[in-house]
Amino acid sequence: MRRRRRTPRQQAATFVYGVLLAAGVVVFGFPLYWMVRGALINQAMWMRVPLVWLPPLKSLSLEAFAAIFASEQFRMSRVLLNTALVAVFMMGFNVIFDCMAGFALSKMRLPGKGLVLAALLTTIMVPFEGMMVPLYLTVTRLGLADTMLGIILPGAASAFCIVLMWRFFNTVPDEIIEAAAVDGASWGQILFSVAMPAAAPAIATIAVFTFLAGWEAFVWPLLITDPQSKFDVLQKVLANATYASMGGTTQTEWAYLMATGLISTLPVLALFLLFQRFFIAGLTGGAVKG
């Protein structure tokens, strides 16, 4: 009886739904379109008033990309290499260290585990902004100012990811670990060839999560490196150039900013489309099942 009611009211509801959905697509898609447009149009098109919403094909060029790889300010090849190194090392260290710690907390008998877990959960609550000043003092004291290690170190292990791995290892049955032990495997062998393969989805989650943290790191690298450092990363260079452009003095470089943004976004977008499931799980930290 409900299904027969294809009334004008329902048609109106469908219409409103469609309009809302389309409006949302425009609002959420437009900034991205503007970045792609800005990265690909030539200088003349940037300065056109009134602006051209849909630039003609002949105004498109790759000159901005060529320029940022050649520019002294952007040094894109060097910066890209640094950023990739930071992201990959951060991911690698986290996968190894967080798995080891999570495994020990979940599957091994050792005293004080409860205390360690409670301490880890407390540190998750401390926001970076609340401790960046003393963290800067600490890392500088270690002599790691303006070094690659100094950039990576605070992100090389994560309490959040250790707890995530701990929770996942808790769901791995003890029997398969005991079976490996009976077969004569050492703890290291059990961790790397039994427990970690069993935890592949959780590892993928923390890998995506920490790679992104490294790729998108901005405030910390900016603090710990010199203003013009050979360890500059993508987000720092982009942020500095964006601030410089606020004064309006560097208008000729506007296209460079959008091109840099596009370069920063494309790998993340690829990861996002490939590993969407792990993204959701990783970003929400198991608060929501992905």
Binding site: G24, T123, P134, A157, A159, I162, V182, V219
Partner: protein, 323 residues
Amino acid sequence: MPHEPWEIGNCPRSRARRWHEAVTGATFLLPGLAIIFLCVAIPGALAFGLSFTHCSRFLSIQWAGLYNYRKLLADPVALKAFANTLRYVAVFVPLNLVIALTISLLLNREFRGMKAIRSVYFVPVAVSGVVAISIFRFLFDRDYGPINAALGTLGFEKVPWLWSEHWAMWAIIALALWKSAAFFSLILLAALQDVSADLQQAAVVDGAGPVARFLHVTLPSIWGVLMTVLILSSIGAFRVFEPMFVLTKGGPNDATQTIALQAYDTAFTGGELGYACAISFALLAVILVVTAAMNKLTALGRGRRSVAIAMERRRLGEGGRRA
């Protein structure tokens, strides 16, 4: 002879093996815990400790008692930063929740092409914070920005958005919402897709309209996730730093100065590390209090939610018998 980590039975080596297990376990914990200790625990403790000292850039530490906190209460710029942050939170958090929930409801339907539409909405999640800031700097540009161009076509005056004391904060809120609402709608959509179809059906059988179904089935089912979203977005809003730091440096005329930015400025521009730590610690205290209060709210909601779901379950049982 192979040594098994797990001792079997009462062999004489069992104590040695247990010892071995504890030592190996501690070794596994060591690298991770050492890094976290060095980079979170020590700085966290230092932030608290240094907030009671006069401490300059060169680490000359001098006990100051509550001086820094008293100074904070009398510092007009710091107080303006607190007020700005509260204003930002008060506008951002509710808007974020409403927009994210609306989007997730819009996207929680299945038809051909929906996958493509969803990915457009989720693209902001894949854009880094700095890139989003950079894009919006151009969207809001006074002379060449598309927003002013559109307003001009509609006959409005040009607005100097990020360069205006009145509008800068609103522009920053818009940019934060673009990224944040997309992210949280992703979480809410996952929760909506877990809402039991049986419960929805039962409600339909009982004659509930769409609004009643949303209030009595959907909302109670996603209540927990909704509260998580509320807490996470509030914490993020209190910490807001990056857009102001990159675009306005707190200006014009301190209109976009926030607590985190104030701490940064005090430490790295002013060189007053002790005072900066006091500001950081005040921010931390605010966040902890808000988190605790919201956890209470979640607990209250959980009670309501279980009652509502239990009632629906019972109806569902009755519906099943009738059919």
